[in-house]
Structures are given as C-alpha cells and as structure tokens.
Amino acid sequence: MSRLAQLQQLFQDRILSGTPGCDEVILLLSDSAPAPVVERLGVYTNAYKARLIEIVANDHENLRAYMGEQLFDRMASEYVESHPSTTPNARWYSARLPLFLARTDPYRSWPQMAEIACLAAALNDAFDCEDAGVMRLEDLAAVKPEDWAELRFKPHPSVSCFETRTNALAIWKAVKSNNDVPAPEIRRQPLPVIVWRQELTPMVRHFDAEEAMLWKEGSRGIPFGTLCEMSATFDRPHEAAARVASYLAGWLNAGMLAE
C-alpha cells in the first residue's frame, strides 16, 4: 500500500469512527497552526455525520415532522453509523432508509415509519426518474373495436406500486398538509399505493384491490381483453368491462401509462 493510500485509509477510518482524542491520524498532522489540531480535525469528523444526517432529513422531511426532530435525528444518526455512503451522488444516500426502519429496533415496532419512508423514497424517485412520452385517451380513439382485446399497456417509468400494511399514506398526507395526524393503524388487508409523476409533479394515491390487481397484470403485458375476464372473476361480471375501461381512463388521464 502506498504512503498516500495508507494515510487516506487512516483518515477515513478516523472520520467514520468519529473517535475523539489522540490517535495515529493526529500524529500525521502538523500542529503549527493557531488552533489545536484535535479541534481542527474535528471539523471533518463533525461535519461528516451532520452532513449525512442533513441529507437523510432533506429526503424525509415529513417523516422527520412525524417522528419529531429528536427521535428522527437519533434514528438518522444510527443510519449514518451503520451505512457509510457508497454513492458518489448524495441523491441516493438515503435509499436504504425504509429497509433500515423495517429491520431495526426500536423503529421496526412502528411499521408506519418504514412505510412513510418508502412513500417518500418512491416520490423522490418519481420526481427525477427518466422521461417518457405519456399515452393519452385520444391515442386510443384510433384503435379498431376488434383490436381492443389485444391492447397492451406499458407503465410510465415513474410508476411504482406497492402495498402498505398501515395507514402510512393517511399519516403522510396529514403531516404534509399540517392537519391532525391519525393514530397508526395496522390493516387486516394490505392497502396498495401507487406513486407516479404527472407532468413534472410526483403524485400518490391508493388503489383498491381490483385496480391494483389489474394494474399489476396489465403492467406485465396482459392484454385488455384478458384483464376484463380477470375482472369478471373478481366482481360483478356484467360490469367488468365497464370497470376496466374506467380504471384505464383514470390511468390515462393521470399519465400513468407510457406511449
């Protein structure tokens, strides 16, 4: 290992451990400046943690408002300690926060926290994900009646659909709009959530169970005709086609489907 590599390794270990006091790194540093060298080295060690906590807080400001600054900052500090950044772009540093919250005590006892983090991450991802043309209702006008059954759809790249087991979305919305925050609830049936970008704005809403099932199947290339058949087994068969058409119109108007 070169001398430079050795020195960088020591310096990095010192920043990651945050240990104060005299150590090997201190011995490498010139002490001719006016301020004590430990104090000046502290500029790097203190800034490291503060900066990463700030990145996590910026990405999850509603979760911070929900948890309270003290608990959030303690949690973020633990996240920073256990997750050295491996991305050159700080934009993705907090990506593992939902998993961290879901797996780590005491946060995993409050499952709504991981789900709120998951919502925020999906919204952040939708915000700057790749661009793609959107399929419009008008685009379907040219489809001949006999071709409808074989019509297939492609989700816009901004879309992510996942299940929540708590009322995380209701909590998230209340925190965001500064309303009374509902008490956390665990649901018997998971509640699907869809996140996407409409024009340039990230959006979020619940899907009902049927819509979520159709979206999932449609996303993997199942054609319109088969979706209608699936819908007929799900609920009132004679209204199935109308229901699927209505979901489809909603997806098109919201810009959830790509060209």
């Binding site: 960088q8 310096f11 990651l16 001719s32 104090e39 000046r40 490291y48 050159p88 700057d128 340039l200």
Partner: protein, 317 residues
C-alpha cells in the same frame, strides 16, 4: 488499461480518438464574465426576469439524475445562459479506483449541456468505495503529485477535454508535505494541462488556518493557468475559519480579489453560495460589486457585462 477503464471506453461510442490516443481539447477557455451558482431557489426569478448574470455554474451531481424537473429546468436555463459544470465527487486525489460509472454520467451531462468547462476539487472524498461527501485534504508530496497527475490524465483522456481543478479549504496539514499548496497546484497544472479554479475564499481560509500570507499563495500560482475565481463567505470560529458558503463575501476576500485581478487579469468570476441562500437580487448585487471592482482595476480591457450577454458578445475580451 484496467478492465473497468476499458469497459467504460468501449461504452463510450460518442468520442472520437485517433490511433495515437484520445483527442483532448487543451485550449484555454474564454473569459465568461461574472456568474452565479445555479440554485433551484432562484429558478422562477431566472425564468421570469432573465437576470443580468453572464453565466451559471451548475453543480454536476444535482443533474446527474435520469430526468424530470431538474433536467427540464436546467435545459431552460441553458437556452439563455452559458454554463460551467462543477462537481464534488470526482475524488481525483483518492487512492481508490476511479469511478467510471460516475465519469460516464458526468460526460453524458456534458454532452447535453456543452459547458464552457468541467471543474471539480483537488481533494479526495473516500477510499474503498466509500464516499464521505467531503472535500478531504492531501499531503503535498511528490508521491501524491505523481498519483494525482496520472488520474487527471486518465480523466482528461476519457472526457476529451482538460479538467479545471479547484483549491479546497483545509483545516489540517500533513507533516510530511514537501511543498506548499500553491506549488503543488502549479506543478499539477503544468504537468497535466489542467486549468485552475482559484477559490479566493479558500485561499483566505487556508492562509488563516495554517498561518501564512494569502498573497504568497497568489504569487505561487502561475498567472496563465487560472480560468475561474470563486468568491464565497465563511464562518469565523475564532482560531480558525470554516468554509461554509453561507455568508456574503467578506471585505478581506474582496481585497484578495483585487490582488488576484492584478496578478491574473480578467478571470471568469462567480459568487458561490450554498446555504442560507438569499433572494437572487442580493447575489446579483454582490456580483455587481465584483464586476465593478474588476472594471475599475482592468479599465483597459473592457469586461463583458449583462448587456453584452444579451447581445451575444460573451467571451470577447
């Protein structure tokens, strides 16, 4: 050539290089005038009022994302203003591997933006695939010089253009340094052809933190290698200064700017503010002060102003 380097190059279908090696543009970038750091807080004011700023410096990583608003807004700014790209994660002084995925994204952003130049910092940000998201200090040794020069060559080969590297603020110095910071910068620029972004606030901060005269720093930097100045504010901790970029430029740094203009002549100048970001008009007023200082000191060489920008005369000094 490492496997990752070869892979990155093979992926890089857009660049042209001859049998003798890559074609690198080493021409000195033209003088751009007086610019500001592009901050999202100012988008609406920029779009509505087309403020008298000659160019914007964009933080590369903020736009190294797949799409959406950030790139849409940036494209809109680019229609009306020249830009330069300024990164924080190149980690040119690291002893870790160069990150070719990062470089690929950087190059792709450069293709989109056609920036006047691409800058980053003379520092390292981590080793062993860790990024500490900080601009970390290096020892000014012959060994470091050789190591960093070789990395600059690789990056310049890949980007097809000379890099611009900035001096960073430091809070510690390594006992084993063999030369002063300015000599290191000078040698690096001479040996690689990279240009220098002289952050005058960082010069001032380092002079205070390490107890030397800032003018010695300026005098040690070759007069023909500097293509950009940063002006910024810092926080005074008593015995030392921290480069926080959350204050207006202080009088001492403006004074250093006067001295730098004497030495380096007309150099593209910008105000860098990263925190406690004020309304755009306040930064434009601060920038106008820099513009007046330069105009007074360099009367024989008219500097382009806002009017020139609108007339499309940028770069004519």
């Amino acid at each position: 050539m490492s496997r990752s380097l070869r892979a990155a190059r093979e992926k890089d279908a857009g660049s042209s290089r001859s049998e003798q090696g890559p074609a690198i543009d080493f021409a000195k970038p033209a003088f751009l005038g007086f610019g500001l750091g592009l901050r999202s807080e100012h988008y609406s004011e920029i779009f509505e009022h087309n403020p008298p700023v000659d160019w914007f410096e964009v933080l590369s990583e903020n736009f190294m994302v797949p799409g959406g608003s950030p790139l849409r807004n940036l494209d809109r700014v680019r229609l009306d203003y020249p830009v330069v790209m300024h990164g924080v994660s190149l980690s040119i002084a690291s002893t870790g591997e160069l990150n070719w995925d990062y470089l690929r994204d950087l190059k792709s952003l450069a293709v989109r933006l056609e920036p006047a130049w691409i800058s980053d910092h003379l520092c390292w940000t981590g080793v062993h695939d860790v990024n500490l998201h900080d601009l970390l200090p290096i020892p000014y040794t012959e060994e470091a010089l050789r190591h960093i020069s070789s990395r600059i060559h690789q990056v310049q080969d890949y980007l097809g253009r000379a890099l611009v590297l900035e001096n960073v603020s430091t809070y510690v110095e390594f006992s084993e340094s063999e030369m002063p910071e300015w000599e290191f910068l000078a040698e690096l620029s001479r040996s690689t052809g990279c240009w220098l972004l002289l952050d005058l606030n960082n010069v001032y901060v380092n002079a205070r933190n390490h107890g030397y005269d800032a003018v010695r720093f300026l005098d040690g930097v070759p007069a023909d290698r500097v293509v950009q100045f940063h002006l910024a504010g810092h926080s005074d901790m008593g015995d030392y200064l921290i480069d926080t970029h959350d204050h207006p430029v202080c009088e001492e740094v403006f004074e250093l700017y006067r001295m730098a203009l004497h030495r380096f002549g007309p150099v593209s100048t910008m105000i860098e503010r990263d925190d406690k970001i004020p309304p755009l008009r306040e930064l434009v007023a601060e920038l106008d002060r820099a513009r007046r200082i330069a105009g007074d000191l360099l009367p024989a060489r008219p500097l382009p102003g806002a009017q020139d920008r609108q007339d499309g005369n940028i770069g004519s000094v």
